[in-house]
Symmetry: C2
Subunit: 231 residues, 2 copies
C-alpha cells in the first residue's frame, strides 16, 4: 500500500476513517492527543521480563509518552496483555534489533532527532529528578532487571538521573522506578514553558493509527480510499 | 520482659546494645534515621497479594515512611521476602485484626493521634497530589487490587487524592501507585516548612529496634542489661 505523505490527503483519509469511529471514541481521541508528547521518550534496553516492560508501557500511556524505543540485543520483547491493559496499541513502539549493536543504533537514531540520552541509574555523575534539565528533547533509558544498563549504554549516555532514596533498600523494580520517573518528569514538563506538544502532522499520523486500531477491516477501507481519491 | 519507659534508661540500653553493632551499621542507622518520618503514614486495607504489599513496604523504606498500618478484615498479610528485600524489619508494622470492623478501628486510632485520613482513589471530591494539603499529619490509605477501598473506608475518609492520568489506561497496579504517591508527597514534605521529623524519644525507640534486629541474641542482652542496671 502506498504511504500517504501529503498532510491534506492524510486529513481526508482521517475524515474518511473517522466516519466509522463512534463519537465517544473520537472525543476520547481528541482529549488524549492533547496530552501526548514526544519531548520525553522512553528507551528500554533488553528487558527480559515481559510483565515489567508491559507495566512501563502502561505508565507511558498514562503519562502521555507516545513513543517507546525497544532495544533487543538479547531479549525479544512481547507485550503481556494482562499488565499492559491494551496500552501498547495506543503507543508507537520502535524496535532496534537488526544491527550489530542495537543500543548504539538506537542512541544514534535518537540523537539525530535531537534527543539527549539520559540513563536512569545511579552513577558518579548523576543528578536527581529535580535537577535534571528537560528543556531539550529527552530520551530516558531503562535497563534490565538483573544487570542494569549495559556498559555501552552507560558509556554513551549524555547524563544520568536517579530517584533520591533514603532507606535501607536502595533499588526499585523497573516498573516502579519507571512510573516514578515518568510521573515526575511529565508533570514537571507540563508545568514548564517548554513546547512539548505534538505538531499538527504528528497528531494526524497518530490519530490515523488510532482510527485504524478501532475500525474493523481498516486496511480495506484505506485501500478503497486510495483507489477512489488518491490515484 | 519489663518495658523500659524512661528516656535515660532507653539511651543507656541503646548504648549497651550499640557496643555489639558494627561502626558501619551505626553510621548507616544515624544517616537513615534523619530522613524517617511519621508525619506521613501508610495504611493498607486488605491487600491480598503479598508481593503488592511487600512492594509498598519497600517504597515506604526508600522514602523514609516509618509506620505501615495493616488492616486485616479478610486477608492475613505475610511479607514476601523476595519483593520486600528485608525492608519490613526496618519499619514499624501495626496490625488491626481483632475488632469487628478493623478499618474503623485503624481510622479511629490514627485520628486520635492527629492524623487526617486520605483515601488514595479517584472520587467525586478528589484532589491531585499537588493540591493535597499535607501540613497536618496524613495517613494515606490504599485498597485492594480488585475492589479498591471498602465503602467503610471511602465513607470515613477525610479527603481523597488521585494521580493525574492522561491516557487510555486509567489505573495503576497498587505497588506502582503507592510508589508514585509516596515519592511525590515525601519530596513535597521535605521541601516544605512542616516539622516532619521524629522526636528524640521516637528516634531512640526506632534505633533500639534496629539494634535488636542486627545484634545476635539481643533478647538475652536486653535481659542482662535489665538485671544489671534496671532493677
Amino acid at each position: 500500500m502506498r504511504q500517504i505523505k501529503n498532510i491534506k490527503d492524510k486529513k481526508r483519509l482521517l475524515e474518511f476513517l473517522n466516519s466509522y469511529v463512534s463519537d465517544n471514541k473520537k472525543q476520547l481521541f481528541d482529549k488524549i492527543i492533547k496530552y501526548r508528547t514526544r519531548h520525553l521518550t522512553v528507551v528500554l534496553e533488553d528487558i527480559y521480563q515481559p510483565h515489567n516492560a508491559s507495566a512501563v508501557l502502561r505508565s507511558c500511556d498514562c503519562f502521555g509518552i507516545q513513543d517507546v524505543h525497544i532495544i533487543e540485543n538479547e531479549n525479544t520483547y512481547e507485550v503481556n496483555p494482562d499488565v499492559a491493559l491494551g496500552s501498547s496499541k495506543w503507543l508507537d513502539l520502535i524496535k532496534y534489533n537488526s544491527k550489530k549493536n542495537n543500543t548504539l543504533d538506537a542512541f544514534n537514531t535518537l540523537r539525530d532527532k535531537g534527543y539527549r540520552i539520559v540513563a536512569t541509574t545511579p552513577h558518579k555523575n548523576d543528578q536527581t529528578l529535580d535537577e535534571l534539565d528537560i528543556s531539550t528533547k529527552t530520551a530516558l533509558v531503562f535497563g534490565t532487571e538483573l544487570r542494569g544498563l549495559s556498559d555501552i549504554a552507560l558509556d554513551n549516555a549524555d547524563a544520568y538521573v536517579k530517584i533520591p532514596m533514603y532507606g535501607f533498600t536502595e533499588s526499585f523494580n523497573i516498573s516502579v522506578s519507571a512510573a516514578i520517573i515518568l510521573h515526575h518528569l511529565s508533570e514537571k514538563l507540563r508545568k514548564s514553558d517548554t513546547d512539548w506538544k505534538l505538531t499538527e502532522d504528528e497528531i494526524i499520523d497518530i490519530k490515523l493509527n488510532w482510527a485504524k486500531t478501532v475500525v474493523k477491516k481498516s486496511d480495506l477501507l484505506v485501500e478503497t480510499f486510495n483507489q477512489r481519491y488518491n490515484k
